[in-house]
Symmetry: C2
Subunit: 95 residues, 2 copies
């Protein structure tokens, strides 16, 4: 399992637009075979800071996701609503 | 539910020491009533970068955790093994 935390700051006034675009990305991503979980979170201390926290079966599942129609069409639109690029970290659990 | 991502860079050569200290913190934290999950992750792209990713019932549970004997004794020792302070973010899910 690989956990992804993709954190970004949303441009002021663009949060609602971001959320509605994100909703479609979340719905479609959760349908993917390799997707374990896919959620959007808000930073309690800075409401314009959002993070997708995702869990994927393996690196292959992430490759498939990154090439999917919903990812390739929606993510570029989300980028336009961000202050700067997302801070994306991929993690594996330490047992 | 509140999700915490506490990310830090471990001083070179101190990872094993960090992991053994962290193990005790994880074991004790998971016993807490308000703890939903408490895991340690390694950044796939920078192995000296570790993140506790935790889920707590509510803010009260986090307050209790932060005052617990295992937190107050172990976390200061972990701090000494970190390059700089952890980057700690508290998140609530967007439904």
């Amino acid at each position: 399992m690989i956990k992804i935390v993709a954190r970004s700051v949303i441009k002021s006034g663009k949060k609602e637009e971001f959320l509605s675009l994100a909703e479609e990305l979340i719905t479609e991503s959760r349908k993917e075979k390799g997707c374990i979980s896919y959620d959007l979170y808000e930073d309690i201390n800075s409401p314009n800071c959002l993070a997708f926290i995702e869990e994927w079966k393996d690196e292959e599942a992430i490759k498939i996701h990154n090439a999917s129609p919903h990812f390739t069409t929606i993510v570029p639109k989300l980028e336009e609503l961000r202050e700067k690029n997302s801070e994306v970290n991929l993690y594996k659990i330490i047992d």
